[in-house]
Assembly symmetry: C2
Homo-oligomer: 207 residues x 2
């Protein structure tokens, strides 16, 4: 069985949970309280020297870090990762865009405001970071005005990765009013077969 | 023929040039003067809405952004990208580590210091960012104390991605004295067959 070390409100941790559910792979969730430093203990650092969640333990015990590496690993051979070389490369492109241009602005502001409660104290830093976040949202808007999903007409890993923090951007104070195509895409993605909302900390829905 | 829009001193732009040379694929280099805003002109934004280099144009005219997406695209089917599912996932892991935890600290400080000449003025911001950079170097050191290359005993795309800015970290003021395994790896990587140093703006060595 897979073990997923994660934090329930983290979009990065939701990504592999979503894919495990899509693949119907059973997994155990281990909640890591990052605010209490639980991802920086000697025991955790022995598993992931970079001290971050999510961390995925495969059924054979081997470990994998980086949420988008997990998406690529778990998505291989599914309809979430195209076989065509160029289509596949465009998925890669969006995954790196997410980690470099989107997450550091959009997830970070949400964390500062909604978790650390620094909305007032860090007002200036937040405003500067939001410029980067809006640039990223603008790039998404341009693409989504042309195609139903980020890498084309069907959902891919790119949409999982970008949905993670875009759908909770408002918790950091981002307004999506100026991004009608992004809002339409959020609704479309939430309607994909087998969609599982965040938080997703169990291998099956309670029944 | 491929066209690579890049900036000669950018490590991110060196990555796809290195792989094109490895594959012996002819390419045309188009120098983009990012300090003069050449990656944010309407013409360039029409090619890459994210306004960044490198940008790769394939022989059929289609475009691809994100240096590590280019590495995965160009590396497919070569010895630089393992076929084994887990080995391959570890390469993905390092590629995302590079863009999230390494490049924003190490490439950024180099840019501030060596290109913008802000070493004194931004001293405080640089010191804070260097804490992140040393954390990233520490993660690499731990791995390279155990294996010859980042994802095992042979070089992969992970090494190309991390070599790009690690080997010029000193230009930003980083000292690698405390990272003997990283220094050994830098020398090892520079000796791989077909190694091409930065800058690499031509499809063949001048002869």
């Amino acid at each position: 069985m897979y073990t997923l070390y994660g934090n329930a409100i983290s979009g990065n941790c939701w990504k592999p949970a979503f894919m495990l559910r899509q693949r119907r792979l059973p997994f155990r969730w281990v909640e890591i309280d990052i605010l209490q430093g639980a991802s920086r203990t000697p025991a955790f650092l022995a598993m992931n020297p970079n001290g971050r969640v999510p961390l995925l333990q495969l059924p054979d015990g081997r470990k994998l870090a980086e949420s988008n590496a997990m998406l690529l690993h778990l998505g291989e051979g599914t309809h979430w990762l195209p076989q065509d070389a160029y289509d596949r490369a465009k998925v890669y492109e969006w995954l790196f865009f997410e980690q470099y241009s989107h997450e550091p602005a959009i997830a970070t502001v949400r964390f500062w405001v909604a978790r650390l409660n620094k909305g007032e104290e860090w007002r200036e830093k937040i405003a500067a970071t939001m410029v980067q976040g809006h640039a990223a949202l603008g790039v998404m808007e341009q693409q989504l005005a042309r195609t139903a999903f980020l890498a084309g007409e069907t959902p891919t890993l790119a949409d999982i990765a970008l949905y993670a923090y875009t759908h909770v951007a408002g918790e950091g104070g981002y307004r999506l009013d100026g991004y009608p195509a992004v809002r339409g895409w959020l609704a479309r993605f939430a309607a994909v077969p087998g969609f599982v909302a965040m938080p997703c900390t169990a291998a099956e829905d309670p029944s």
